[in-house]
């Protein structure tokens, strides 16, 4: 899951080296935190959050087999 978020985020931003993904796994849910360079935030959120929504959809699809809820937070 961490790898997927990294791949997605790095392909969108101008500063891939500053992409940081942390994962906290709970009993029922996985919390993924995505941090990018300040000037790249718009590139992973998009107009009206369109990119962020697409990213969450993809992460959700990847997690569908794990039977756990996944929360992607952009911090």
């Amino acid at each position: 899951m961490k790898g997927l978020v990294e791949v997605l985020a790095k392909s969108l931003v101008d500063n891939p080296d500053e992409v940081v993904v942390t994962v906290a796994e709970g009993e029922k849910a996985i919390l993924i935190e995505l941090k990018v360079a300040p000037q790249d935030v718009g590139k992973i959120i998009g107009k009206q959050g369109r990119i962020a929504k697409a990213l969450r959809t993809l992460v959700k699809a990847a997690a569908s087999r794990e039977k756990k809820k996944v929360i992607l937070e952009i911090v």
């Binding site: 791949v7 993809l58 959700k60």
Partner: protein
Amino acid sequence: MREIEVTGKTVEDAISFGLEQLGVERSDVEIEILEQPSKGILGLFGQKPAKVRLTIKSRVIEKAKKFLDDVIAAMGVKVSYEILQREDHLLINLYGNDVGILIGYRGETLDALQYITNLAANKNEITPRRIILDAQGYRERREKTLIRLAERVAEKVRQKGRPFALEPMTPQERRIIHTALQNFEGVYTYSEGEDPNRKVIIAPKR
């Protein structure tokens, strides 16, 4: 495709002048030598400069491949794909055992992946190309389903004389409905609401 033709004293001169104009590196272009320079007779008559054509290479396909390979590996799904060059877009067709995971409910995962693939592959490209993702003919099947649905609902609207709202759809899906009913006697269509909850309304003509 962006290209320019430039001249210079030597071929080398012409190339570096062209690269400067385009603001790109040598590895970003394809070089075609149109005319070799000629010194002319005694360096006086018939002097001709070198002429080259520089064409900026598109990296969209390369980047789309790299992106999809990485995503497929990171998701751990068994999926392959083929890339087909169409006139006004690239069609990437996904297939394999796990293709359903990449389609998702009503194609929402496929749409999300298509959107991000477009952004990733066209990033920093001077000549972007539209990329359409399909999965084992899903989009065509969905189109047929939508047309059938549209005609069925339109028939009912015509009989009962009352408008009917379809469920929310993406712009592409709404377009399919509008097109399908354009020449359907007795009804007209319009959309209402804001994305992602915008829906098509089929209404009786008075």
